[in-house]
Amino acid sequence: MHEEVIFAGFGGQGVLFAGQLLAYTALAEDKHVTWIPSYGPEMRGGTANCTVVVSDEPVGSPVTKYPSIVVAFNNPSLEKYEDEVKPDGLLVVNESLVIHQVQRDDLDLVLVPATALATELGETRMTNMILFGAMLAHRPMVALDTAEHVLLDKLGERKAHLHELNLMALRKGMELGLAQKTEA
């Protein structure tokens, strides 16, 4: 197993955390893993991306030109990365915030109205967990179980009130992802 995942979206959408969750989970499962943010201009700014490489082998390059998985949190990210995904790769899209129509037909495409669902759940910030779940449904690089465990651990006591919500979002994403998988 060797996956090169790019999470991409606006700042504030929990993009980096989604990537870190994957990285920590991979570590918990004793996999080789790297996480790296694309740290842009020195100043604050619009976009937030990170790349996670999960592998059974030691990771050579922590960056990639042709990711095997892209999780696009918004429209600009989708536009930027659609063409880069490896053939037969996975493209997870936050349907709520995109207008761009995906052109490629050689991909495993998952469309999730994550922000809308998250808002329904009462917390827009759950967008990232929903997308994460959907991704995992299609590429079970790590077990949902481990991810949940790590998630609660990372949220910690201080965010105990958000534990349940996060888990719900994660599972919801998984569910939606699986649903689309059967369809595809």
């Binding site: 870190q20 996480w35 050579g60 922590p62 990639t64 030109k65």
Partner: protein, 352 residues
């Protein structure tokens, strides 16, 4: 110690803490800032010294001062900041006080940008400042290696009373990767006998880089060069992969080295006899091992995140025996394995 997922910058900082660094002086600069930030928290909480200096010039001179007292001391910065420290480095090297400097290199020249780069190679390996000397330069290629080399850096600095660089690049600094930290070392309580500790019951100790007479300064240089010779002979470090039967060997350090490894493996899968040589010490450059390789290797391909700097050392080590090719990216562009693979194929096809 458990394996943790750590950012390179933070890992470097915490490794230094555990190696017993007693004082950190630094100035913020991307992409090394997390290192300084980690120190700003850890050092005071351990009762050790942390000063955010007014500039890199001040940082390195604070380091110089603290180093004169025989304590373990360090700073960290990135390319433009390293440029500002050149005078200080030269003083430190001449005075033979030990210290460690981390350079998390970024795109240059000038203000450039904050993307990963290896374009300070010349600056750190040739003479980091005016005058004749080389600093010891260690180049990790993973967070774990960064942690390990950080400890070595302090040991080497103390052993040789010398300036030691640990050079990373933005990628290694910003990347999170699992690594195991060493246990916390107790702080040294003894000070070396040359250290400034107050002339209590002994003659005054003096730390200086001034020698007004030319013969006296030449003697200082002779001592320095003799020391460097020992280091050059005993401290060369490198690692190799699949070089035994290799016809082409890729030479890369740090991030470029690890990315090249992926490309090399790919080439092997395609049946090419390719290997990887990764220098760990950039100075002393591992010329002994590399020049030994020229016995059976037919060509070398140097991969750097710059316009071609280490390639000179590789050529010097190869001594004109075999061709040395170069593939580099500049301005903060990180080469991906695919393009290094292409460069490998190109070089490989040229082999007789």
């Amino acid at each position: 110690m458990p394996v943790e997922l750590m950012k390179g910058n933070t890992a470097l900082a915490e490794a230094a803490v555990r190696a017993g660094v007693e004082a950190f002086f630094g100035y913020p600069i991307t992409p090394q800032t997390e290192l300084l930030e980690h120190m700003s928290k850890r050092m005071p909480e351990l009762g050790r010294a942390f000063v955010q200096a007014e500039s890199e010039v001040a940082s390195i001179n604070m380091v110089y001062g603290a180093a004169c007292t025989g304590t373990r001391v360090m700073t960290s910065s990135s390319s433009p900041g390293i440029s500002l420290m050149q005078e200080g480095f030269s003083y430190i090297a001449c005075s033979e006080v030990p210290c460690v400097v981390v350079d998390v290199m970024r795109g240059g020249p000038g203000l450039g940008n904050i993307q990963p780069s290896q374009s300070d190679y010349f600056q750190v390996t040739r003479s980091a400042g005016h005058g004749d000397y080389h600093a010891i330069v260690l180049a990790p290629s993973s967070v774990q290696e960064a942690v390990d080399l950080m400890g070595d850096a302090f040991d080497l600095a103390d052993q040789y009373r010398h300036l030691v660089f640990v050079v990373a690049d933005g990628l290694l600094g910003q990347m999170m990767e699992p690594a195991e930290l060493p246990p916390m070392q107790p702080l040294r309580t003894e000070r070396p006998d040359w250290a400034l500790t107050g002339a209590n019951g002994r003659d005054p100790n003096i730390i200086t880089s001034l020698e007004l007479s030319a013969p006296a300064l030449e003697a200082v240089n002779d001592r320095l060069q003799a020391k460097l010779k020992v280091i050059r002979e005993t401290e060369q470090r490198s690692t190799e992969n699949m070089t035994k039967d290799a016809r082409l060997v890729v030479v890369g350090y740090g991030t470029a080295g690890r990315i090249a490894e992926t490309a090399v493996k790919q080439a092997r899968r395609e049946g090419m006899q390719v290997g990887l040589f990764r220098p760990i010490t950039l100075w002393p450059f591992p010329e002994q091992r590399l020049s030994a390789l020229t016995d059976h290797v037919e060509a070398l391909l140097v991969v750097e995140m710059n316009a071609g700097q280490m390639v000179e050392d590789v050529k010097l080590a190869a001594g004109g025996q075999i061709p040395v090719e170069f593939y580099g990216r500049t301005g903060g562009v990180v080469p991906v394995p695919e393009e290094i693979y292409d460069a490998i194929v190109e070089s490989y096809e040229k082999l007789a």
